[in-house]
Amino acid sequence: LVEIGGEPLFGKRLKEHVETVLANNQITPAVALQTLRETLEELEKFEAALNSAVSAFRELDIGDESLKPGECEIGVLVPRVAVRNQLLNFSEELKELGFILNTFSEVATGKPDTLELRTLSSSDLLVYLRASALTRLASPLRSNV
């Protein structure tokens, strides 16, 4: 949202903006109204741009990667710079990833996982793996860790 310029138009940032506009224009509500109308216009423009992008993806038959019920997926982005853009360094990183995920798999299920590949992206080195939901449950990225 930050990168596509939408952050000020949503959530906390939007709330802060509205509160500031109202606080700064207590004697001149018409000015506050005008400023908030401009914000609304920006939001509507942003929404229209997103809707156009979604329509274009649909028209061009560019789909998304959807999961079947009960499926779980882990995605890992490896920065090219971290592997110096070299295949063998990347393969070492994949081995490390295998060690990490299979450690958690053994803790959760008593055995290693096959770590089935779902998707690979090469612009950024991005690997998506199918994972057992319970393996994921035992991983360190639980929100309470």
Binding site: V78, A82, F99, T103, E106, R136, P140, L141, R142, V145
Partner: protein, 143 residues
């Protein structure tokens, strides 16, 4: 995640202090503190994870896995600090199965969904700080 968020704050402050021209040798204390914070937090979390989820009776393997989980978490933390990103998503299963199983899966799905919100791609500020150990140190042989 909470632990790493704390580290991100330290990393941001580290960057600010560096910008103010504080010499590198004066910054090593911050780097050491950040590494110790993560190392201790991970050591505690790895024991909790193995105690909670490892159901086999093999005590030796349990100890090995506690070490492996700690090293794995160190590896993850080092990598995220160097710009790697992890994300996870899950599709809730269709209804069915025993009540106990459904409850277990429901809890698993809820835990994943709550983690997903905290694992959005991070825009890191400042330089990497972590150099957590990724291998178990072998005890030195007596001369």
């Amino acid at each position: 995640v909470a632990l790493y968020k704390q580290l991100l704050e330290i990393r941001k402050l580290h960057q600010e202090i560096r910008k103010q021209g504080v010499p590198q040798k004066e910054m090593t204390g911050i780097e050491k503190y950040a590494n110790e914070l993560m190392e201790n937090g991970i050591a505690k979390a790895s024991e909790e994870i193995v105690n909670e989820y490892y159901e086999q009776q093999d005590k030796g393997r349990k100890n090995e896995l506690t070490i492996a989980v700690r090293l794995s978490m160190n590896k993850i933390a080092n990598r995220i600090d160097h710009g790697f990103n992890l994300e996870v998503r899950v599709e809730p299963p269709a209804e069915g199965g025993s009540e106990q199983q459904s409850e277990q899966v429901r809890k698993a799905v809820a835990a994943i969904e709550s983690a997903t919100a905290n694992m959005q791609f991070l825009k890191l500020e400042g330089q990497p700080l972590l150099k957590l150990p990724e291998r178990e140190e072998k005890p030195k042989k007596k001369e």
